[in-house]
């Protein structure tokens, strides 16, 4: 199990496009990956789940993965969030 906290930095937060990026990235790993915000945990491979977080800028997200490639999975998603999903 690998866990890491990361802060949302892009202006519009995790709307549909960033959510799609997270899901696309997560789906490339075998590990079970979850995102948790304020005790609300969703599957990172489900776009509807990630969208229901409606995470705005400044939100702290706990990225957790469990599986053979859990380190890479967490690192990949954390990097996406830190990059602001390529947005402003």
């Amino acid at each position: 199990m690998t866990t890491k906290m990361v802060e949302v930095i892009n202006q519009l937060g995790i709307h549909a496009r960033p959510a799609a990026k997270i899901v696309r990235n997560a789906s490339m790993f075998d590990s079970h990956i979850t995102l948790t915000v304020d005790g609300d945990t969703v599957n990172a491979k489900s776009i509807m789940g990630v969208m229901t977080l409606a995470a705005c800028r400044g939100t702290m997200i706990e990225v957790q993965a469990d599986g053979d490639d859990e380190r890479e999975a967490v690192a990949g998603i954390v990097q996406l969030v830190l990059d602001g999903f390529g947005e402003d």
Partner: protein
Amino acid sequence: MSDIPGSDELTVARFYKILGSKLELVPVDLETGFANLVRSPDISRPGMALTGYIQHFLHERIQIFGETEITYLNSLSDSEREFALGRIFETPIYCSIVTKGLPAPSELIAYSRSSDSALFLSTRDTTPLIHDLTDLLDEVFAPRTSVYGSLVEVFGIGLLVTGKSAIGKSESVLGLLERGHRLIADDRVFISRIRGILVGRGDSRMGHLMEIRGLGLVEVSNFYGIRAVKERQQVQFEVRLEQWSQDNQEFDRTGLVQKVNNILDISIPQTVIPVLPGRNLTLLLEIAVMNHLLVRQGRNIPREIEDNLINRILDKETDQERRTDMTGGRET
């Protein structure tokens, strides 16, 4: 008009066979000039050239002698008429039509014979005849291409299904026919651009044949009857079936991204559907078309959901900022 020849195959004989009865054409000499190729999608009215302005005479087009030309020629003396027609026949003319049931001047008949140029008489009025003639020529001379895939009319939309061979195109198309949609072509779709739209059809010599792996060739109209097949259809929307794999995550998750495919310089919307065992492709193709119909009507559901979500996120941020404002807050 299902079997449209290419522009390099349209001889006068072929043109006469296709349009002879519709245009009410009667050849003055059967066979004369019939081997000539029709060389232009346009027609020419030779009136100006007959009066002497031959600089821009368009001899590579089918010549239409209407009432203007014939009454003008009849107003000339025999020698003037001979001269006027002789001058335009100095450039190679391959086909002429005299309309409105008017008699062809004897000089026109003679020049046509001596230069192996086809000459037809028609009882039809000039303008409607020209419209029907250019309809055919537009198709013959239209830019064309062929695409590997199937073309099916689904809820009135021309759906082009593409994807690698053996991905399940034909099976999913059979499912669509089972549900009352209509097949235009399977395996190879011939597409032409006619007046700004893409028109697709199959190979008319092949009928509505499909190859189903394990069953061989099946003729669709034998199973489903005439209601399941169609000769031609505008190509409006493409669904590309792609093999799903963990490494290939390049398909759209939200429906926010509208891909397009360019066929003969016309863009049509394209949706990529990943294929997985157990996915009901027929159902997915129907849903994709319904979605396309909604977008055409101005409803973009993913866009609406996205706008809604962004508003919720921004409201949330404003609320949080208000709560932490005493500490100076974050710049916006």
